[in-house]
Subunit: 230 residues, 2 copies
DNA sequence: GCAAAAGTGTTCTTGGTACACCCATGG
DNA sequence: CCATGGGTGTACCAAGAACACTTTTGC
């Protein structure tokens, strides 16, 4: 059985970089400059190099596409896609990573891509190259579930944020509205989820909101669950 | 940047096959017959063949190791391990699968392994070849979390089972004891989790228990959560 | 009748939801 | 003083935990 018919193949990382911008869940896409699917939108990503770890490759690609230090933001492997025919260039197994970042002025033209841009996930759905539509869908579902059980929501926020900011992350990603008052309490009563900085932010109109930073916790205890019935 | 330093590598699938046997969570391990780590325990697995999908490879390996039809039981990809030095033979990226099966008389000597055996995960921990200890740990944690939100527990049970059987799956996998009476109600009131067959099983002593089979649902609504405080 | 396991009923507590209400600011 | 968003108090309801109690079998 130890016939030598193992596939020798290349491995790639693809990044689903999510943020909340202009009240919508958006993802960073590049316009492909090269042959397969040229001119079409695709997720940023690239081949893993010899001697390079998968996570390292993801951090490197993230830096190349966004100019940001991948080590400083949330980056998490979430699936592998390995259908033999998923890439017309030959067999490529792709490891998909979910990256979450605050709304920063980022998109720069990437190295092997002619451009990069934020697009709302609701708009882009159905028009990505390769099997990237499915990857994006899986990533979004993953992010939605992660909000329930982990402190992932803080990764969407800048260093200092209000509870209202945090709530709007949940509302935008889940696509449902939450009661601001109950949300406050839940978040404040969850140990190490957020901690007050002492500062306040004065909104254009209304009472100033206390500012918080992310607490030490990574898991949410108790969880903040979506309304599964509605 | 499109230098040709992409890694050309082999990809493997590794299987964490879990079952509940003799009141303990056990996993199927093989004794390695070949060079690296020869004579040591390892997870069953093997290289993906040319033109073969990842899931297909997992099903094939499962059949080779256990003689069972992989399509009929729970099989789920859960992580990728791709450190450049994780395999002394060269670069191998491994896709890890979690398989769940009822307690069946299974282990047959595998093809490229000199033997296979069930061992309790609590016993084997720390003695597996490659990075398989970590893979096993990740798999068990995954299974524990899956019990909370999905109907995975039924995959540990034979076609017909009692609520007591199902409860003992939770108790063994989670390592905590549950109230039989409250557990019954929770499970019965969860839509499509289990459905009665009408038959009963007479235990050596005690009142006969109604038999059930798995219902159609895959997600558990409401979830059955572990006691996170204790 | 006794042991053992299945299953029901009941109370208590906790956590979620809905919502009235008050607070702090800019205009 | 009004509009606007931040934040607290409270009443209600549903789900979970604990546990007394009944049922159904083999011996």
């Amino acid at each position: 059985m130890t016939t030598r018919d193992h596939a020798l193949l290349r491995i790639a990382v693809d990044l689903v970089i999510l943020t909340v911008r202009e009240g919508a869940l958006q993802t960073l896409v590049v316009i492909r400059g090269n042959k397969p699917f040229a001119g079409q939108f695709a997720l940023p990503g690239g081949f893993v190099r010899a001697g390079e770890g998968l996570d390292d490759a993801a951090v490197r690609e993230l830096a190349e596409e966004t100019g940001l230090d991948g080590g400083s933001l949330h980056l998490e492997q979430f699936a592998v896609y390995g259908e033999p025919d998923r890439d017309p260039r030959g067999r490529v197994v792709s490891v998909a990573y979910l990256a979450i970042m605050p709304d920063l002025p980022v998109p720069t033209a990437g190295s092997d891509a002619s451009g990069a841009a934020w697009v709302p996930v609701s708009k882009i759905h159905g028009s990505l190259a390769f099997d990237h539509d499915r990857i994006l869908t899986d990533a979004v579902e993953r992010a939605r579930r992660r909000l329930e059980l982990t402190t992932l929501a803080t990764a969407f926020c800048p260093a200092e944020f209000t509870i209202g900011d945090l709530r709007s992350v949940y509302e935008v990603v889940w696509g449902e509205s939450l009661d601001p008052r109950n949300f406050s309490r839940k978040v404040i009563n969850t140990e190490k989820f957020i901690e007050p900085t002492g500062a306040k932010r004065i909104p254009p109109t209304g009472r100033p909101a206390a500012l918080y930073r992310a607490g030490g916790a990574t898991t949410l205890n108790p969880p903040i669950m979506r309304n599964r019935s509605r």
